[in-house]
Amino acid sequence: MPAWIRRAAVSIAKGHRVTLDQMLRRPITSLYPEEPVPHFPGFRSIPVLKANEETGKLNCTACGLCARSCPPQIIFVESVVGDDGRRKQWPAFFNLDLSRCMVCNLCVEACPFDALEMSADNELSAYDVRDLFFNMEELAALWKTAPAVRIAGGQKR
């Protein structure tokens, strides 16, 4: 028998051994909607607004550092203007456009007031792109429902 036939037969048989072996194992599929996929702590999905746990007030002071650090410039933040015409350290608006968000964590790192976190809730898809705007209340509500982890630069985890 020519050597190449033997070689071919052996190599093909080896391949079949692998597939048969794998066939008899348990499948690795996880049934996604029924079994939610676990996310590891620190998974980033969308920046959300953190509130003080005791007072329930947002930590945000509307300083705008996050908006400046944002590469695609999707954060709009404006502070409350008081009756005396001076800006208060309290956001009037905090809008975020998830449709262009790069999920880069730069806004969280820029925030000096511990006001932003990356939420792990990744099931935010929508049929209309306009449903991907989030305003202040929605972002604050998202923080309450989904687990979020704040990772600053150089932090030990």
């Binding site: 650090s69 999707i74 709009f76 404006e78 809008n95 305003n135």
Partner: protein, 193 residues
């Protein structure tokens, strides 16, 4: 799309920490091998000069008409033997376009040389420089890209068409600083509601 006129924003005001890294200024000192190479080049081509703006390797500035000569020498000379054209790119400086070639000797010593050419604008015509596709066939797409995005005409290129932008793109060359994006601006989705 970022507006090209826009300057980088001022950095956020934070408590100023004294930077511990001193950014080097002035020309980068040369290694002995770079000195030798520069001497060797200057002997052969008296018109070459060191381009001190190239800070990552030795930059050699060449007049546009001698580019091919010098690059061919760099490729074939036993001292340089730069068989690898790593990168070919161009930058618009407002009054001139600079084309930069990055060459590496990849077979023996891994040293690198950069050749830069300044092409002054001549009216509305695209600045011209000799194509090096017959030295490195691989320069083909690099040159097409430079033509497409920066607007440099490479004389003698076999097939100088747009490569990344569509064939009939009428808006000019986007990496020029004078480029104006005429597309309707995309609606900003972040708004007050």
């Amino acid at each position: 799309m970022v507006d090209e006129e826009k300057q980088p924003k001022t950095p956020p005001k934070k408590p100023v920490v004294k930077p511990k890294v001193e950014a080097a200024s002035g020309p980068v000192p040369l290694t002995p091998r770079q000195e030798e190479g520069l001497q060797r080049l200057k002997e052969k081509f008296p018109f070459v000069e060191r381009d001190e703006k190239v800070r990552s390797s030795l930059g050699i500035q060449v007049p546009p008409e001698h580019v091919k000569e010098v690059l061919g020498f760099l490729r074939d000379d036993p001292f340089f033997r730069c068989r690898h054209l790593s990168c070919l790119s161009a930058v618009d400086w407002g009054e001139a376009i600079e084309v930069a070639y990055h060459l590496v000797n990849i077979e023996e010593k891994a040293d690198e040389w950069a050749v830069t050419v300044k092409l002054p604008y001549q009216g509305d015509e695209l600045p011209e420089v000799d194509s090096i596709t017959d030295l490195w066939p691989g320069a083909d797409w690099h040159e097409r890209e430079a033509y497409d995005l920066v607007g440099v005409r490479f004389k003698g290129h076999p097939d100088l068409r747009r490569i990344l932008l569509p064939e009939g793109f009428a808006g000019g060359h986007p990496l020029r600083k004078s480029f104006v994006d005429r597309r309707p601006p995309r609606q900003r989705l972040v708004r007050i509601r």
